[in-house]
């Protein structure tokens, strides 16, 4: 469902050029749960951003669900992001003046759904993450774990093919982290394809496959026996 061939990306910092991704080949199938690991500067976030169409590769091919992602106009990229992808960020990135329900409903607004339908769907997903009672709360009134769960509900709202999580537990304590991971595992069991960028070994171990990056190349790509997060909670 996801095919990446010889992906290159460099950033220019002042006069010098920083080659961040040096020819990445990666293929992910439907229903996989992949951890992308690496120390900071290994290019893992850049890779995720390119997969998420938040950033563009300089070179190489990227095919998502049989659609080549190349030379997208802003408008097209917006439509693809909305249709294909659900994002989970380390810092949650909820809109601070919108309550939980409105945050979850936002991708549906950009899908052009009617208000009633949006609210219905958003409620369904909030219930799924166990926060229906908190629908009218603003992000500032929620704990870190709750915020991340709202963000997960938002990522799910548009029913995307692929969920991209950038250090989803980076800002959370261990217990809450495992709680979130347990939820992501549950989603994966329901058939969602999930990509997680992390530098924590225990989080990576909860995925089904670990891809290790170092200095812009893939060092290791192996399937692992998934550690169930519930056993830690």
């Amino acid at each position: 469902m996801l095919e990446i061939n010889q992906l290159h990306k460099s950033y220019s910092i002042g006069d010098s050029k920083l080659h961040v991704l040096k020819g990445i080949d990666l293929s992910v199938n439907q229903g996989e749960m992949v951890a992308i690991m690496g120390s900071s500067g290994s290019g893992k976030s850049t890779l995720l951003n390119i997969i998420g169409m938040l950033d563009e590769a300089d070179e190489g091919a990227y095919i998502l669900d049989q659609v080549p992602i190349k030379n997208l106009t802003e408008k097209k990229a917006a439509i693809y992001r909305n249709k294909f992808l659900g994002f989970i960020f380390q810092s949650f990135n909820l809109i601070n003046y919108k309550n939980a329900l409105e945050n979850v409903a936002l991708p549906l607004y950009y899908q052009g759904l009617k208000r009633k339908e949006r609210q219905e769907k958003a409620r369904f997903h909030l219930e799924k993450v166990g926060l229906l009672d908190w629908e009218t709360h603003l992000p500032s009134e929620l704990s870190g774990g709750q915020k991340q769960r709202v963000a997960i509900a938002r990522a799910l709202a548009s029913d995307p093919k692929l969920i991209l999580a950038d250090e989803p537990t980076g800002a959370l304590d261990t217990t809450t982290s495992y709680d979130i991971m347990a939820f992501l595992q549950q989603l994966n069991n329901e058939g969602k394809t999930i990509l997680i960028v992390t530098h924590e070994e225990d989080i990576a171990a909860m995925c089904k496959r670990i891809v290790r990056l170092r200095d812009g190349v893939i060092m290791e790509d192996k399937k692992v026996t998934q550690v169930r997060a519930e056993s830690h909670v």
């Binding site: 938040l54 950033d55 439509i79 994002f87 409105e102 950009y110």
Partner: protein, 409 residues
């Protein structure tokens, strides 16, 4: 097209970010308020100037005679110059090109009585043209006409206050008023913007007065208005020429200041006109300045708002917002706030002018007001500038990669 969801987003954004909305709204309100008040006050100043001269026609000239102070062409100093009907005719015919209305005047004081009421009044015996020169407003009956002049009829037109004094509640038209023993028929009642003194007067035909009081053709004063199409310099030249001709006619030395005097409103008006045009330029500069200050203010705020919302824009883009929807949400919000705030400033400004306007007469400000269309266009300019100032950064923000926007903390 009306997009209820877009408006819902905007109202939420406005109400949830109150400080920001109030700040930008306040800038616009304040700019429009200042603009309205400054323009209103300046207009009030202008009104004072023009009102000071509503009493008489602005293009009037008054010609008076006196005694000579210098010997000239064999004539002694101290001789009295007396205008007569022939002088009136001379000016009327010889300066026909430049004269619009012309009248002679004779002054008399009379004891007037009607039934039991009596009082002392000034009387002016005049030509029919006098009505236009003095801007007399006849609101009952008629003014002196040419037939009165020809037949030397014993008729008078009385001022409003004369009517109030003598006739009390009786309709004066068709009644006879006794002027120092001679009854005159009242044919009209007039009002005059010049104030009470001007309404405590009586007008009668010049020919009648000449026959009744002295049986001669003497005239105390000749008043005229020059043709309105003369500009100030032409009018001043005309006045000087007239004075010169009259001095020659009466054998008066050219530098004799007393014997023949021509008072020309054009001289005075030229100065006032210059003053008001300077005032106009000043108003324009002030208005422009206020407007520019407002534009700069709203532009700054728009740039600040877009900057503040960069992260939100990144989130929205990650969730699938098109660049167009990003631009429109920022732009519509800015236009909406500017419009409401501008309208509020307009109401406030006009309200303040209405409220304090009548109390400013002592400061030479009369009826300070602004034309609504002027303030509306100022508001429109501000909205336009605000939109442009919002559009450029919004457009830019809609184009930044979401990843850059999201990194912005």
């Amino acid at each position: 097209m009306f997009d209820i969801d877009l408006w819902r987003e905007i109202f939420q954004s406005i109400s949830k970010n109150r400080t920001r909305s109030l700040l930008s709204g306040f800038t616009v309100t304040f700019a429009i308020l200042l603009f309205t008040i400054l323009f209103g006050l300046a207009n009030g100043l202008n009104n004072t100037f023009s009102e000071a001269f509503v009493d008489d026609a602005a293009n009037a000239m008054f010609i008076r005679s006196g005694t000579t102070t210098k010997a000239h062409k064999g004539m002694q100093a101290g001789r009295r110059v007396q205008f007569r009907n022939e002088d009136y005719n001379y000016i009327k015919t010889d300066f026909d090109d430049n004269v619009e209305f012309i009248t002679s005047r004779i002054y008399k004081n009379v004891n007037a009585s009607f039934r039991n009421e009596k009082n002392n009044y000034s009387l002016r015996a005049v030509h029919p043209d006098h009505q236009y020169l003095e801007k007399t407003k006849v609101f009952q009956g008629r003014y002196i006409n040419q037939r009165d002049m020809d037949l030397k009829t014993k008729v008078v037109v009385i001022g409003k206050l004369v009517k109030d004094d003598l006739f009390l509640k009786v309709d004066p038209l068709g009644k006879y008023i006794n002027l120092s023993g001679i009854p005159y028929l009242v044919v009209g009642v007039f009002a005059d913007d010049g104030g009470d003194d001007e309404e405590r007067l009586l007008y009668m035909p010049l020919s009648t007065a000449q026959q009744v009081y002295g049986n001669n053709d003497y005239v105390d004063q000749i008043n005229l208005t020059y043709k309105p199409d003369l500009d100030y310099n032409q009018a001043i030249d005309f006045g000087l020429d007239l004075e010169k001709q009259l001095k020659e006619r009466f054998l008066v030395a050219p530098n004799d200041q007393r014997a023949v005097r021509v008072f020309n409103m054009a001289m005075q008006n030229k100065g006032i006109n210059q003053m008001t045009s300077v005032l106009g330029i000043l108003i324009l500069i002030i208005g422009m300045g206020t407007l520019i200050a407002g534009i700069v203010g709203i532009s700054n705020i728009m740039i600040f708002i877009v900057k503040e919302r960069t992260k939100e824009i990144g989130i929205r883009k990650a969730l699938g917002a098109s660049p167009k929807s990003i631009v429109s949400i920022i732009l519509v919000e800015s236009i909406f706030i500017t419009t409401i705030a501008g309208y509020f400033g307009l109401l406030l400004g006009v309200g303040i002018l209405e409220l304090v306007g009548p109390n400013l007469k002592t400061y030479f400000i009369t009826n300070p007001s602004v034309s609504i269309s002027l303030v509306l266009s100022a508001t429109l300019i501000l909205i336009g500038a605000g939109s442009l100032a919002g559009y450029l950064p919004a457009k830019k923000a809609s184009k930044i990669k979401p990843i850059v926007a999201l990194r912005d903390d």
